[in-house]
Structures are given as structure tokens and as C-alpha cells.
């Protein structure tokens, strides 16, 4: 049998977390097939085909799939599921939205947000905001799984250009769209446009919390982000207060990030925040409260007023001859 992976994309390009999910899928079974469902998404099909771990691309075109509504995608995935033992996607808002719907229609218990694969039926996943890890064995015939992208490396491209690989035949299979229930309608998507790297995959993240006090003060964070080519993160408190938009939130109910360097500024370090960043390789905390819990997990703790420390930080960075990009 084989594994069916659901690709995340925007009809023109593949979202990177799909590559992490491909790696996870290939640890379960070498026969990895990827579904690219969308509207005019040929380019995504090519991108996926260029990944060496992918054995087959299933390509389904329909305007009903353009915005990935769970109600519309699920019937297609359920139909294709007949041929597969595992259905997999990433555990971000894309996968979290449709996968439980698919699992319930297949009458199977989903395993969410896995960080490790022990065998084809046994997986490790965090619970209680990452304060415990549970190993679960699934006794279902078909398994629906979402993977935590940051726990698996992205799958490499084959080097071989996609078109060469495509010429070899069999790689891409056209799949007829399946009737949709017409009970939901996409209206609009408001994306935050930014020149900076994506939060989920950035090498460096600098995050601000309630300590920043205002939207305007986030400029102090942004300036350093630009200097370091870093992504900007935030605590829930900072998002709730309107300092920054929701897509920047790191934590249990936000994004999980594992950068080489995470700089937490004016963030106290509540367990719900730590859930999203404590696996970062190097953690820096800047906080004026010496007792802030964030210091207990930081590699470098600076007890200081951020309004003084951040301008100094920028100045020191400006003095450096080179900065890694």
C-alpha cells in the first residue's frame, strides 16, 4: 500500500511545510503519493514532481478546490483514501481544518501534530502545551495523521528538473474532481504581506510581547528584524492588544517555530508561549523582570529595559562587519 499526502499551496506555488510532511510520510512508507488539488495549479504539480521522495502526483483541477474549503476537499480525499493506508498533512491551520473532517468520514481516529514516527502505527505527539509527550499506537485500518512540520526536515528536490522527471511518464495522474456539497463559500483572504522571511521557517525570529506597549513601539523589533533578516513573532498578549496581526503569534494556539535563534523581548514566558518556541536552538530573553519565567529556558538572559536595550542592540549590530544571512 501507499501513503497519501495532501499538498498545501496557493495554486501557484507549494507551501514549504508540505516538504516537511513528505519527509515524515516517507518514514512511514516509501510509496509517497501527493495530492495537488486546486484551480490552475499545474506549477505546483511540477514543484511536487521535482521532489525525489515523491513517487506519484495526483492532480485534481476544479474551481471548487481553489480555496481549499474543508467541505469541498474532503469528498475527494475520502474517495482517494480507498487506495491508501495513511493520509497525511501538516499540522498547521491548513491540515487542522480538513483532516479531522476526512478522518471522521472514514470513521478513523486522527493522530494530530506528531513529532516522531516509531513505526507505521505508533507515533509520538505533545500534549498539554508540550509539557508531556504521549506515544500512541493506532489500531485503525486507515490512519489520518497531521505532522508538526518543525519536527521533520524538508524533503530535498531531486536536482533533476521537474520537466525531465515528468517526461518519464507515470509520475502524474489526473484525478477527476468529486461533487461538492455547496454548503460553504470562500469570501476573502487578508494576508499580511512582508519582505521578511516566513515566521515558520526563518533562521532567526525576534518576538515582542506586552512589554512593547504599543503598535508603534514594534518598530524597535522590526528594525532589528531587518538588520538580522529575521521574522517577527509575538505573544498572544501582543496580538490581543492589537500591536501586531494574528499571523505573528507564537505558541500553543499560534505557530510553532524552531529557529536557530529566538529573541524574546518583553515576553514573560507563559507555558502557552513556550509551547511554540522552546525547541529553538538558541534562546535570548530581554526582560526587565529578573524573575520572568522566560529566563529559566533562555541561553542568554539580559535583564534590562527593552526601550534602552533594543536601540543599543541595533547599534551593536551596526558595528559588526558581517552578519550571517
Amino acid at each position: 500500500m501507499a501513503v497519501l499526502l495532501i499538498a498545501e499551496h496557493n495554486n501557484s506555488t507549494l507551501k514549504v511545510y508540505t516538504l516537511n510532511a513528505i519527509t515524515a510520510a516517507s518514514e512511514i512508507d516509501k510509496e509517497v503519493h501527493v495530492l495537488v488539488a486546486g484551480n490552475k495549479c499545474e506549477n505546483v504539480v511540477k514543484e511536487v514532481a521535482a521532489v525525489s521522495l515523491v513517487k506519484k502526483v495526483l492532480h485534481s483541477e476544479s474551481s471548487d478546490y481553489e480555496n481549499f474549503l474543508a467541505e469541498n476537499l474532503s469528498p475527494l480525499i475520502v474517495k482517494l483514501a480507498e487506495r491508501y493506508t495513511h493520509i497525511i498533512s501538516s499540522a498547521n491551520t491548513f491540515g487542522k481544518n480538513f483532516m479531522p473532517r476526512v478522518a471522521a468520514l472514514l470513521d478513523t481516529s486522527q493522530i494530530s501534530d506528531i513529532i516522531k514516527i516509531e513505526s507505521s502505527d505508533t507515533f509520538v505527539r505533545p500534549i498539554y502545551a508540550g509539557n508531556a509527550l504521549v506515544t500512541v499506537k493506532s489500531n485503525d485500518k486507515k490512519k489520518c495523521i497531521t505532522i508538526r512540520p518543525t519536527s521533520f526536515d524538508p524533503a530535498p528536490s531531486s536536482g533533476e528538473s521537474a520537466s525531465e522527471k515528468l517526461k518519464k511518464g507515470t509520475l502524474v495522474e489526473k484525478v477527476e474532481p468529486v461533487a461538492v456539497p455547496n454548503i460553504s463559500k470562500f469570501i476573502k483572504r487578508e494576508e499580511t504581506k512582508s519582505e521578511r522571511p516566513e515566521l515558520g521557517t526563518a533562521r532567526i525570529v525576534i518576538a515582542g510581547g506586552r512589554g512593547l506597549q504599543s503598535k508603534e513601539n514594534f518598530k524597535l523589533i522590526n528594525d532589528i528584524a531587518d538588520k538580522l533578516n529575521a521574522a517577527v513573532g509575538a505573544s498572544r498578549a501582543a496580538v490581543d492588544a492589537g500591536y501586531i496581526s494574528n499571523d505573528h503569534q507564537v505558541g500553543q494556539t499560534g505557530k510553532v517555530v524552531v529557529p536557530d535563534l529566538y529573541i524574546a523581548v518583553g515576553i514573560s514566558g507563559a507555558i502557552q508561549h513556550l509551547a511554540g518556541m522552546k525547541e529553538s536552538k538558541v534562546i535570548v530573553a530581554i526582560n526587565k523582570d529578573g524573575e520572568a519565567p522566560i529566563f529559566s529556558i533562555a541561553d542568554y538572559s539580559l535583564e534590562a529595559d527593552l526601550f534602552k536595550a533594543l536601540p543599543e542592540f541595533l547599534e551593536e549590530l551596526n558595528k559588526l562587519n558581517t552578519i550571517q544571512k
Binding site: A70, A103, L105, T135, E190, D247, L261
Partner: protein, 249 residues
């Protein structure tokens, strides 16, 4: 319209979890329990819709042991009209919970079911979507804004890219984010009044649904601990360490 709101009793979000030495789970004895935080937002939204004249009745449901009733009682104290407690021994997987909730939906016939977007104990974020699936209803997940417009519901969803707006037909299932609203506190008189409101108890196995576990929990363990770091006394020292010791900039 009638709204069903689904609440779960979980370990309070402020509690530092302790894993049991034998790997069978986490300590729950003498640990503070509360309503799962986003479920409070679900209750608040239902009550607000009722106050705005958009809903006639709000019914709060929970699945759990005898003590799980506390969460329903709390929902009644902030404005829910009635409660339903589906009694169960041990725990139920998301799929089983969705099957139980489907039975309650068939009985109560609500036009809207509100749940939290995620339970902060098992962190699965599945039950709302599963319930929508087996009812054949549309779903609005991770909602930070709701608006009822005639027969459709406009939902603003928090997604990785930012915000997404969808319109879904009613009846529908919605899972609520913490940013949907600001849950109110119950006043003392309302807590007293809530004591008189009724909570119907249903025994899970009388519903005749298959809630057998499909997942076997092999072990629960603590995640690896991070080693403590060092204090730096100046920004210059910090930058020097990052450049020359950690070599990350």
C-alpha cells in the same frame, strides 16, 4: 434559533503539569480544574447572540465524569438556559465525542453548534470538524468573528497567512478562538440563579454509539529539559556571545 455550546473540563491553564512516574498519564489529583479556555468564548458568543435577539435558547453540553457538570453550571451562570451532561467513565477520543455530540444534536436540533478550537489538555483540535463531518454540516474553524446574515453565517477565521472570511450555510458547526470575544464573569446572583436551572443527565452508553478507543496510549513522558543558560550584563556582551560563542549571527 437554538444554539448548542460544548464545554470541557480540563486542568486549569495556569497549572504546571506533572507527568506520572509510571508513564500512565499526568497527575490530576488535587489539581485545579476549569473550563477549557476557548469554550468560555463559545459560551460567551452564544449568550451574546441570545442577548442580541438572534438566538432563542442556549444549551450547554459536556461529556465527562460527575464533576464535569461544573463546566455546565458555569455556562448556566453566565447565561446559558439549560444543560446536558453526558456521563462517561474515563475519557473519550475525539471521534467518539463527535458521535455522542451528534446524538445530542439530533435530539436538540440546534441550528448552530459552538465549540472551542482546541482542548488545551490533549491539544487535538478535532472534535468540531469531526462533528460537522458526520452531521454533513459546514464548519467554521478557528473563528475570531461571527455574524449571522439571514440563512448564512459569516465567519472570520484565523489562519497562518492572516485572516480568512467564509460564508457557511446554517445549520453549522463553529470552533472558537480566544480572540472571538471577552468572556464575562458570572455575578453572584446569577450563580445562585444558575443553581435552579436544570441539567439533564444522559448516560453515554445509553446513546448506543461506538466510543471504543481506537488509539492505545503506550506511555506518557516528560519532554527533554532545556539546560539553563547564562546571564549577560550588557547588550555588547550579548552581541559578542551571539557572534562568537553561539555563532548564530
Amino acid at each position: 434559533m437554538k444554539i448548542l455550546v460544548v464545554v470541557k473540563r480540563v486542568i486549569d491553564y495556569n497549572v504546571q503539569i506533572r507527568v506520572k512516574e509510571d508513564g500512565s498519564g499526568v497527575h490530576t489529583d488535587n489539581v485545579k480544574m476549569s473550563t477549557n479556555p476557548p469554550d468560555d468564548n463559545a459560551v460567551e458568543e452564544a449568550v451574546k447572540l441570545k442577548e442580541a435577539g438572534k438566538a432563542k435558547e442556549v444549551v450547554a453540553v459536556t461529556i465527562g465524569d460527575e464533576k464535569a457538570q461544573e463546566t455546565v453550571r458555569k455556562a448556566l451562570a453566565v447565561g446559558a438556559d439549560r444543560g446536558v451532561h453526558v456521563k462517561i467513565e474515563g475519557d473519550v477520543e475525539p471521534l467518539g465525542a463527535a458521535k455522542i455530540l451528534k446524538k445530542i444534536v439530533e435530539k436538540e436540533k440546534p441550528e448552530l453548534v459552538l465549540l472551542g478550537k482546541q482542548a488545551i489538555d490533549d491539544d487535538t483540535a478535532q472534535r468540531g470538524q469531526m462533528l460537522a463531518a458526520i452531521l454533513g454540516w459546514p464548519q467554521g474553524t478557528f473563528a475570531s468573528k461571527l455574524e449571522i446574515k439571514n440563512k448564512v453565517l459569516e465567519v472570520i477565521r484565523e489562519v497562518d497567512e492572516g485572516l480568512e472570511t467564509i460564508e457557511i450555510n446554517l445549520p453549522a458547526v463553529v470552533t472558537c478562538d480566544l480572540r472571538l470575544n471577552e468572556p464575562r464573569y458570572a455575578s453572584l446572583p446569577n450563580i445562585m440563579k444558575a443553581k435552579k436551572k436544570s441539567i439533564e443527565q444522559i448516560i453515554a452508553k445509553d446513546l448506543g454509539v461506538d466510543i471504543a478507543h481506537r488509539l492505545q496510549q503506550l506511555k506518557v513522558e516528560e519532554p527533554p529539559k532545556r539546560k539553563g543558560g547564562i546571564k549577560v550584563t550588557s547588550v555588547a556582551e550579548l552581541v559578542d556571545k551571539l557572534k562568537n560563542e553561539a555563532k548564530v549571527i
